[in-house]
């Protein structure tokens, strides 16, 4: 175990810090080298040329600049993890899609790609999160919040005519990552080599699922921990361009944690996962470049920007000083952000389009790498094709029309933002010290400390709304008594098609080689009970042999346990 957070995280590079001029020149050189065809002069509406970056030269306060901010693409990455940031490449437009049958998903995802999305994301049906197949679920609940994907054939249909060797995919599926296992088998069927597969095991952070979503009903905390490390190890060897670790702050913020608590909890989780991998003998520079983060972005505009800047700075120091990573790629906190559904209101729902735009701007100024924008009807239902289009258009408008990407970290150097970044960092470090004192994130969740803190913050927030101290348009101020009810379309999968999907699945189960299934489950059981075998490798093998999502989880529940005592805190 490395030295404590307090000792390490404040320690800066002792020697060999470059001079300001050298750093600036280095950045200029990197920028010129990497900007390539994007190197165009940008003038604002008044004809003033806008520089890609503003620095202490512009604000004349150079004291702490290098230590606390530095240049983009340079330690501690406060101003962004790449030297070109959104001037070089804006962000991946990754809309979360999940509905109905695999055929429904395929149709929607192809539309999204035609509309400008440049990556895909697959959200499974809630029954999948619970760990069961469609043949044991009440029909009305299937496919209402995600796609019903229970075997490799289903995934094949989801990804029909989607070039999985060319676009990045996010599989939203916690331990034991059956969706990703299905996808690897689809690649095999199509003759695509696994090193061509890029994307993320999104939300692979079991800790956040335990805190916010009670995922222990699916697999025990200890079991999930084991399978995650196996998954990371497997990808390192066999799917080198895949990001197996997605550390999630989104769930924790959505469940009620404050923004600073979210940074603290999320980075404490990242430390836990990294240290679990190191304990397995992995090298930090082999795994940390493949760590990604997934954050919520709320409407608290400046606080969100400061949150992301602080998170980058803390993580860079932890990765280098506590986890011992030497490769700058390991120090970079790269993240996907989803605009927060918590801020959206059922009252005057069209207002949500404005809210989402502000949230998205906070994410952009926060330096995100990938984004999902919520549709305005999410307080009512899974978005329809029509409302999802507006959500994508919101990103397009911000990127194309608003000149948000002309300048790197445009709020950096603002006295307010810099101060707030420092304050958010202090708060987050205090939370992390508390977690360290409790023995790390795993233990803190096991005893319910994190859940209790989230619960308290959630209640405090609710009280602010009740007392009117926190004002929400249409909810506790500016209510519109005459408000016309807007027509909200409820998307529900076609029950006839869903029934057909279930019937086909039942037929599949009957007709597959039962011998192959029994053998694969046998192997999975053995792997789960052996310290030397990789459980995820067996999951990939088993799904290839026709074992279903529900069967995999049922087997692992038996072998690795499930459930957790309810914590009253």
């Amino acid at each position: 175990m490395s030295a404590s957070l307090n000792e390490q995280s404040f320690r800066l590079q002792d020697a060999g810090e470059p001079s300001l001029d050298a750093a600036e020149n280095q950045w200029k050189e990197d920028y010129a080298k990497q900007i390539g065809a994007n190197n165009q002069e940008i003038k604002n509406m008044s004809g003033i040329t806008v520089d890609p970056l503003y620095t202490p030269d512009n604000i004349k306060d150079t004291d702490a600049y290098l230590k606390q901010s530095g240049y983009p693409g340079q330690f501690p990455y406060t101003r962004g993890i790449y030297s070109t940031m959104h001037r070089g490449k804006t962000w991946t437009q990754r809309q979360l899609v999940g509905l109905g049958t695999p055929a429904d998903y395929n149709k929607r995802v192809r539309t999204m790609l035609e509309l400008g999305a440049n990556a895909i994301s697959l959200l499974p049906c809630n029954s999948g999160f619970r760990g069961v197949d469609c043949d044991v679920v009440p029909l009305p609940l299937l496919g209402t919040c995600g796609t019903v994907v229970n075997n490799v054939d289903h995934m094949d249909t989801c990804l029909e005519q989607v070039p999985i060797d060319q676009i990045s995919a996010a599989m939203n599926d916690p331990s034991p990552f059956t969706l990703f296992a299905f996808m690897l088998n689809v690649a095999k069927r199509r003759g695509i080599s696994w090193d061509k597969i890029t994307g993320t095991s999104n939300q692979s952070d079991y800790i956040s699922h335990f805190v916010a979503n009670h995922m222990f009903y699916r697999l025990s905390l200890a079991g999930s921990r084991r399978v995650l490390v196996d998954h990371i190890e497997f990808c390192r060897e066999h799917v080198p361009n895949w990001n197996p670790m997605s550390v999630v702050g989104q769930h924790i913020q959505q469940t009620g944690a404050t923004l600073a608590e979210t940074v603290g909890f999320t980075l404490s989780s990242a430390i836990q996962h990294a240290e679990d991998c190191l304990a397995r003998g992995m090298d930090p520079d082999e795994i940390l470049p493949r760590f990604t983060f997934f954050f919520d972005v709320s409407i608290n505009f400046f606080e969100e920007v400061a949150k992301f800047r602080a998170a980058r700075r803390i993580w860079a120091r932890i990765a280098r000083d506590r986890l011992g990573a030497k490769d700058p790629k390991s120090w970079r906190l790269k993240f996907h952000a989803q605009t927060s559904g918590v801020d959206l209101t059922a009252q005057q729902p069209l207002n949500n389009i404005a809210r989402t735009a502000v949230q998205a701007m906070a994410g952009i100024f926060g330096g995100l790498q990938s984004m999902h924008t919520d549709a305005y009807d999410e307080p009512f239902t899974t978005p329809t094709a029509k409302t999802a289009k507006i959500a994508v258009a919101t990103q397009n408008i911000l990127r194309e029309e608003a000149h948000l990407c002309d300048v790197i970290d445009p709020l950096g150097g603002s006295y307010y933002i810099e101060r707030l970044t420092d304050q958010m960092e202090e708060e987050a470090l205090a939370v992390m010290a508390k977690i360290d004192a409790a023995g790390g994130m795993y233990k803190a969740v096991e005893v319910g400390l994190v859940q209790a803190m989230c619960g308290e913050s959630s209640m405090a927030n609710q009280e602010l709304i009740e007392s009117g101290k926190k004002r929400i348009v249409g909810v506790n101020c500016y209510q519109d008594e005459e408000e016309e009810k807007i027509e909200v379309e409820t998307t529900r999968p076609d029950p006839v098609l869903m029934q057909k999907h279930i019937d086909e699945f039942k037929a599949f189960k009957k007709n597959r080689s039962q011998q192959a299934v029994a053998k694969a489950l046998d192997n999975l059981t053995r792997a789960a009970n052996s310290d030397d075998e990789n459980v995820f490798a067996s999951v990939v093998e088993a799904t290839g042999a026709g074992v279903t999502h529900g069967e995999i989880i049922s087997c692992l529940r038996t072998e690795l346990g499930f459930g957790h005592p309810l914590i009253i805190a």
Partner: protein, 151 residues
């Protein structure tokens, strides 16, 4: 388990706050549980992902007056099944209300199934407590009537 000595005395209202189905988002149910607790009720709280049969069993064992269901995803669609199973278990005097994301189009189905209240986003603490108290009083009355018939 046989039903004996229903709680019809002047003891505090007993409310079960739970989530059935497959969704795990429990921020709302925890807040409502705290509301009712602070209003003096005895709250039996479960984490989400409960099965309907387990909720019926718990309602029986805990002798509750009231069940509050939280639904963020689409788990409200199986609430009619819960109502049916409560009735089958001889617990139709228990009142049920729901809070969360319930599309307008799907409310009539819930009212028809006998739900005593539906709360969407932005509902106030007062509204929720008032409804819970009213439903609990009705449930106590139902229980008394049922006892009178049984005796």
């Amino acid at each position: 388990m046989e039903k004996v000595f229903p709680n019809v005395t002047g003891t505090p209202v007993r409310a079960l706050i739970t989530k059935i189905g497959f969704d795990g988002h429990d921020r709302g149910s925890r807040i409502v549980a705290a509301y009712l607790r602070d209003a003096g009720m005895e709250v039996i709280y479960t984490p989400p992902w409960q099965e309907i049969d387990a909720v019926v069993q718990l309602a029986l064992q805990e002798d509750v007056d009231l069940i509050g269901i939280s639904s963020l995803a689409t788990d409200h669609l199986i609430v009619p099944e819960l109502m049916q199973k409560l009735s089958d278990a001889g617990l139709s005097e228990i009142e049920v209300f729901i809070g969360g994301i319930i599309p307008e189009q799907e409310r009539p189905m819930l009212i028809e199934a006998g739900l005593g209240g539906i709360f969407g986003p932005g509902s106030s603490r007062e509204e929720i407590i008032e409804c819970a108290q009213r439903l609990a009083a009705a449930a106590r009355l139902n229980k008394q009537k049922a006892m009178a018939v049984a005796l």
